[in-house]
């Protein structure tokens, strides 16, 4: 199908910034994985099967401490629970008529970044668009890990530092255009950043892990926003 290919191509293109950012983050992960005693194969395998930065960094600590498998499972559940919210949000973007099997593949690629880019796209979600995003971004994640394990000094620090802002810049590129001229959305974004900032600065709150903070603030702010500013036009979104 032509629409499949064109959607896939769009996804591949939009996945390039994710690829760059992933490379920088997973490069650091690779270096740490090596220090934690993982072989290059194990590190790359972990990256290819998990694609989750915070979860993988935490896993290195747990493996180093020879934690139990239950502890590993529970830690991953807590750290990655935000994907559950993202998956809920994404489930409404996929047409009910889209073949069920696509959901199993799309689910594998629900990361902060792939979710952010795909869910904010207008209209219903085409699974092949997500496959495109995965096609260009996941190799960045695994290859970055591989290079990090192999040689931490392969890339000059300046380059890694510069690439480290790629994902955040991309998030900004995702949320700002729809907020332009939309006072409610702009307000929600500003409020979210402000509260997030307070959570980082206030000592008691800053002890909350970042994964949990994301869930807490999302439930809270999106919940209040939904109560105060219910969306009407979403119903017509096709």
């Amino acid at each position: 199908m032509n629409t499949n290919i064109s959607n896939w191509k769009k996804g591949v293109r939009d996945g390039i910034p994710i690829c760059l950012g992933y490379f920088a983050v997973s490069f650091t992960f690779g270096i740490m994985a090596k220090n934690a005693g993982l072989t290059p194969f194990q590190a790359v395998l972990m990256s290819a099967t998990n694609i989750t930065s915070a979860g993988q960094f935490a896993a290195l600590g747990l493996i180093g401490a020879s934690s139990t498998y239950i502890e590993m499972a529970f830690t991953q559940l807590v750290i990655n629970l935000r994907y559950c919210l993202m998956s809920c949000s994404l489930s409404q973007k996929i047409n009910a008529s889209t073949d069920f099997s696509h959901r199993f593949l799309v689910a594998f690629g629900i990361t902060d970044e792939i979710f952010g880019v795909s869910v904010c796209k207008e209209g219903k979600l085409h699974p092949f668009y997500n496959y495109g995003l995965m096609t260009s971004s996941i190799p960045g994640w695994t290859l970055g890990t591989f290079c990090g394990v192999l040689s931490g000094s392969l890339l000059p620090e300046r380059i890694v530092s510069a690439l480290s802002i790629a994902l955040y810049a991309m998030f900004i590129a995702v949320i700002i255009p729809p907020a332009k001229g939309n006072k409610i959305l702009s307000g929600i974004i500003l409020l979210s950043m402000l509260v997030s900032f307070l959570f980082a600065k206030i000592s008691v709150l800053s002890e909350i892990s970042s994964g949990f903070k994301i869930i807490l603030l999302t439930l809270l702010i999106a919940g209040i926003a939904a109560r105060l500013f219910p969306i009407q036009e979403v119903a017509n979104e096709q």
Binding site: R13, C120, I165, P177, I188, S192, S196
Partner: protein
């Protein structure tokens, strides 16, 4: 211990995949409830905003280059530049600032 690493990887990959998969497969029908629909509509904006700030300020080697990169990204995003351009030019500006500093 190293033989256990594969079990660790299996456990974490399994848990993480299930978290991603379960809502996506269980919530197949369109939700009619207005509150839930609105809530899910707002989720990505809150999530991404919370993840971006203030974490972006600590992403690079120093807070100044990160701030410049942040501002560059906001301006370019506001002008409707593509994800790729916003991302790339933010990286370039960080690189240039760190050359000077």
């Amino acid at each position: 211990m190293s033989s256990n690493v594969y079990v660790y990887i299996l456990v974490m990959a399994g848990v993480t995949y299930l978290i991603r998969l379960i809502p996506l497969t269980l919530m197949r029908k369109e939700i009619k409830n207005g509150f839930v629909r609105s809530f899910l509509h707002y989720v990505p904006y809150v999530t991404l905003a919370v993840m971006t700030f203030p974490a972006i300020l600590n992403a690079t080697a120093n807070v100044w280059s990160a701030s410049i990169g942040f501002i560059v990204a906001i301006i370019l995003a506001y002008r409707g530049k593509s994800l790729f351009m916003v991302s790339l030019l933010a990286c370039v500006s960080v690189f240039l600032i760190e050359l000077i500093l």
